[in-house]
Symmetry: C2
Subunit: 299 residues, 2 copies
């Protein structure tokens, strides 16, 4: 029980399993996570460009339908083939295995044969679940966009709202994170925050409540909000955090995963499908949770 | 027991109590913290510009030597009077009570009658102690300098090294925090990080080990370092973290104080004496720990 089970229940209630295309899924934790999903019947998996090790590993676990292997000459071709499966509607979610991230992203971002719509913004969305908070916390961007432009920031808000809804929030509350609660010339993005709040009031994101600048605690800690005497429509119960840049987002992500026993998952949003970019240090449980998150966020 | 007791023991071993000038120390938690320090005989306190409430509160706890009251017409005069006590060598540490931070800082930063030496840099240093780490973690800057210049960054390193030494580190290890481990044109400060590491190797900070860019985990988590296959002379055991800007520092500070039961204290360094800038939400324990930290860092 780590907080992601409710996502699994939603997927189990779906009529058909989600189809995951895994690029070079040779490592033990990717095999473990994907086979578990197949065994629980909420996913089918295509291994693209995996070596014979995968075949051997799968052979040890017989009676597993919904798995297949697609050969590829090299990692680049594997990435391109997996992307084409998505483009052809033969897979729903893309997942990185033992392949360098730039190789996978090159195929995703290819102008002719990739997955990013014209004008699209690829951004990272993470979700953490921990006992001290009463719901999953969605946040962006800890891994991809260094300093978001106003256009990218709005795309990040779209992605946060979509993921919050996938996780069951009927009226997502999004906090625009800063180190204080006031707009300041020293931090130009806080002016953009004020614009976003105004656009939100004008109906740009129907059914979404946005407030900021807020610091981390006034975003997610009602008591900190009270002590500071601040009024916020989020009331210290944000569903999602938008960080102003990758460094502050990354510090939060690394704090969450190091300081407390959280379950944390992540994916890229903005492409034609969610893309799971797990990293070397991730164990099977984290990969499994990221698969749950991505499959549920795939619409 | 919260990890700051060892600091108290060091102060108790000192020959004479440290003298703390408190500006407008009317609130219950400031009174509680200062009276406790006086009772334990490692501090003497001058209340500058406090109202009669302090006198009444002190009256309830008789037999307390080493306390005195200095009247002031208003908060501004109280701040100036307290600063003059430091300048005249009649107090060792300055502490904020129920006074607005800008009022106190105005007196501290006054060019003629203040506490900042010419060319000095005022920066915030925080210290957190928690069971998951084997020593106090010192970090900067979560509250004062928005985007440090190279000169300010080097002053921050001076301050971090000094505080680490006050806390007992014989060879302080300082991590230059980023979201990754490589220098990148997208993040100009990472070039300055490389310069700092080179200056450090050239002997600018004798007895201090500096490495970066490192992300939060490769700075303080040996296992993350191993998984990423990175070599760092800090070996995942940093004594101190330098954050690239106030937002990432503040996110870490707020994460520490919200996510886990840490003891966290803070102060300003760079002036003629440490300045304790507690905030409204701080309880007596936090103020007490900040007094310990500041008095130990006062040289």
């Amino acid at each position: 029980m780590n907080g992601f089970e409710t996502l699994e229940n939603k997927l189990l209630a779906a009529a058909t399993p989600r189809r995951i295309a895994v690029v070079c899924g040779d490592d033990a934790s990717t095999i473990e996570a994907t086979v578990r999903a197949v065994e629980r019947r909420w996913a089918s998996v295509v291994f693209v460009g995996a070596t014979e090790a995968v075949g051997r590993a799968l052979g040890h676990r017989a009676n597993q339908p919904n798995k297949s292997l697609v050969a590829a000459a090299d990692d680049g071709e594997a990435a391109r083939l997996a992307v084409s499966l998505i483009r052809e509607g033969r897979a729903d979610v893309l997942m990185k295995g033992l392949v360098e991230t730039p190789v996978l992203l090159k195929a995703v971002l290819d102008k002719q044969q990739g997955l990013l719509p014209p004008g699209g913004v690829l951004t990272h969305v993470a979700v953490s679940v921990w006992p001290g908070y009463d719901k999953p916390l969605v946040y962006s961007d800890v891994a991809v966009i260094p300093y978001p432009t106003p256009q990218q920031r709005r795309a990040q808000i779209d992605a946060l709202a979509a993921v919050c809804r996938s996780l069951g929030a009927s009226e997502p509350r999004i906090a625009l994170v800063h180190c204080a609660e006031h707009v300041s010339d020293k931090f130009p993005y806080t002016h953009d925050y004020a614009d976003i709040v105004n656009e939100s009031k004008d109906g740009r994101w129907p059914g979404v409540v946005i407030d900021g600048p807020l610091d981390l605690r006034t975003a997610i800690d009602p008591q900190a909000l009270r002590v500071k005497g601040i009024h916020s429509p989020l009331q210290g119960h944000a569903d999602a955090l938008l960080f102003p840049d990758i460094v502050s987002g990354n510090v939060f992500y690394k704090s969450m995963t190091f300081l407390i026993p959280t379950a944390t998952a992540g994916m890229l949003m903005g492409a034609a499908c969610p893309v799971i970019l797990s990293s070397r240090g991730d164990n099977a449980a984290t990969k499994y949770d990221s698969m749950l998150l991505a499959c549920l966020s795939q619409s």
